[in-house]
Symmetry: C2
Subunit: 372 residues, 2 copies
């Protein structure tokens, strides 16, 4: 294996595939990036067995590439990334001698790194399923930002460690919940496929970091994996087994109380109160009546805080309801609108947060019982 390639191009492609690499990989080979070089292109690949990413540097690209000799090798990701990033040159040469000695060089710098034989790298099946829909990176990013934070990070119910994606009748519902709060968003697609899957949040977090420019993404879906294909990059992830709970029945439909408030007003108020914690949790009480809307919180060790929501307008009889401040903060932030609306149906009933600017997003939070 021997090629010369544009440094910037190589670095960009390495940065993308390296997102698949986990520090806690089961296999030593998974700490490396696999190079497969044929006569026309270099294929780069990395994986932690849950998420796998591959992309290409091709002669068709508008950057320098000279392939002198084909071949395959696996190179420790942290070394190759560090070297390529710091090399002060336009063209980098990479050459493998004696099967496993990797030489990376330009005119003044030379690095000799011990690689891993390509046949020690597990076979990863990148075959694309037939079923797919398309979505813009911009839309995909906003869907992920609206839901990912609400997934569970506990081990006891694996099916809550991901986003439930239900595709049916040209419609996609994405739902995430950790059983204390729920985030849901929907969008239409130009496809008639029918799937109900759970995609691991860890993989989606890495996907989110890999989405850059605004372009179309093909999302290939099967019952085993989902693949995100854009430009010459393919990111695939395993799915979480198990069935996602039916959350529709949790979402109330009748509300007796409605609070409208500017996002900036309530977010900054919750943020200011967030340091007042009991056992690590910031519980906030919301007191609502015709005249004023007041947030308050208290802790025996630290003290108390009160905030008047200047921009609030409330409809309904007096109501006092308590909640985890962080849950409501994250829910409001995820809606990404200037004004939001809380809809309540009772002090111990789940309440929802929505915005007229962004009606497809629904955030639901369970109140907590307190004696503040």
């Amino acid at each position: 294996m021997f090629f010369k390639v544009d440094k910037k191009q190589l670095l960009t492609k390495l940065n993308v595939v390296s997102r698949a690499i986990s520090n806690y990989s089961p296999l030593p080979a998974f700490s490396g990036i696999k190079f497969d070089v044929n006569e026309n292109e270099i294929c780069l690949m990395a994986s932690d067995s849950d998420i796998s990413i591959k992309n290409y540097i091709s002669k068709r690209d508008e950057c320098f590439l000279e392939i002198e000799q084909t071949g395959s090798i696996v190179i420790e990701a942290k070394y190759i990334l560090d070297i390529v990033r710091k090399m002060d040159t336009e063209v980098i040469s990479i050459e493998v001698a004696d099967g496993v000695n990797v030489k990376i060089y330009d005119e003044t710098s030379e690095f000799n790194i011990i690689g891993i034989y390509a046949n020690e790298y597990p076979m990863i099946d990148f075959t694309k399923g037939e079923d797919f829909f398309t979505i813009s990176t911009m839309k995909l990013k906003s869907v992920l930002n609206q839901t990912l934070f609400a997934t569970s990070d506990k081990d006891n119910r694996p099916y809550l460690n991901g986003i439930n994606v239900h595709i049916h009748d040209g419609h996609v519902d994405c739902t995430a919940t950790d059983s204390y709060r729920l985030a849901k968003t929907s969008f239409d697609v130009d496809s008639t496929i029918d799937y109900n899957i759970i995609i691991p949040s860890k993989s989606l977090n890495e996907l989110l970091k890999s989405l850059d420019d605004d372009q179309e993404i093909k999302v290939h879906v099967s019952n085993k994996k989902v693949q995100f294909v854009f430009e010459d990059t393919l990111i695939q992830t395993r799915l979480i087994e198990g069935s996602f709970p039916d959350t529709n029945k949790l979402i109330p439909e009748q509300f007796q109380y409605e609070l409208k408030v500017e996002t900036r007003d309530i977010l900054s108020a919750i943020d200011r109160m967030s340091f007042i914690k009991n056992d690590g949790i910031n519980i906030i009480k919301l007191d609502l009546n015709e005249n004023e809307s007041i947030l308050s919180t208290k802790s025996q060790d630290i003290g108390s805080a009160t905030e008047i929501l200047k921009t609030a307008s409330f409809n309904g009889e007096s109501l006092a309801i308590s909640f985890n401040g962080r849950y409501v903060f994250e829910a409001i932030r995820a809606i990404h609108a200037d004004t939001i609306t809380f809809k309540f149906s009772g002090e111990m009933k789940p309440f929802i947060i929505q915005s007229e600017e962004n009606e497809e997003v629904l955030q639901l939070v369970l109140p907590v019982r307190t004696y503040l």
Copy 2:
């Protein structure tokens, strides 16, 4: 105690004094900031017993201050900083009731924090010594940047955990060493005082972060403490007891070899090789002769690297010398010049790094024995 004050001014002053607070303070009161309010000004103070900082918000300042009632209180630093930083107002009111209940508020936000009685805060002697010299913040910053990194962080020789400041005959020599490398810089002062003291590097690191605009600093020196006074801020630190070794005899004066090289060239070369470590240390060999200057490094686990210094010019017979890459990297960076000169007197003799652009700074590094 009750006053109303400009939010930005309060935040700026709190940020400065809070630098004295350590997470590992011996006394609970030291996790707080002490407020002393008299009819004309607020004095803020914080300490970890090694370093103490105080400053003032005065009616003379061009910002809003209304003092309604004098008094003193200590407020937990992390709470008061968090609250003041996040409050969205121009004027903040702070009021103490029942001796220890602190109310911080504006028109819509109110925080009630439990304070600490001012009499539980240790007396700190801020009396200024008579002896002083003046230095600009710009000069003081550059002196600290040239030397601080070379102090020792080990516990076995406390007198190496600081910078030795020797003031004599209108001249100040600053020396730092961890016994493997040494950094020294000198400057003239308009003062005839005579002191030979060791200032803890931990205090000087905090001082460095507190130095902002270019202004004159009065440095008050005694045999117990040193005080840095600028504007209405006073930063004082205890000294390290013990006598600093006479390092002058370590610095060679005769050199048989001289290497001149562009800083950018050698720093980027060392940086690229820095990941190749043996037992956590990156040892670099420098091979010098009339025709070329080459850096190389090797590790059985990782591999090897070679760098040709394109901008090098060497005077002397052939020489090979090995050193800790990080020590030479930090020494060169501290000189802050475009071109630097290495002066050698043998492969196992300490060598020095200097620059014609910045002759008052001297960096010395001990070579290491290797079998690369």
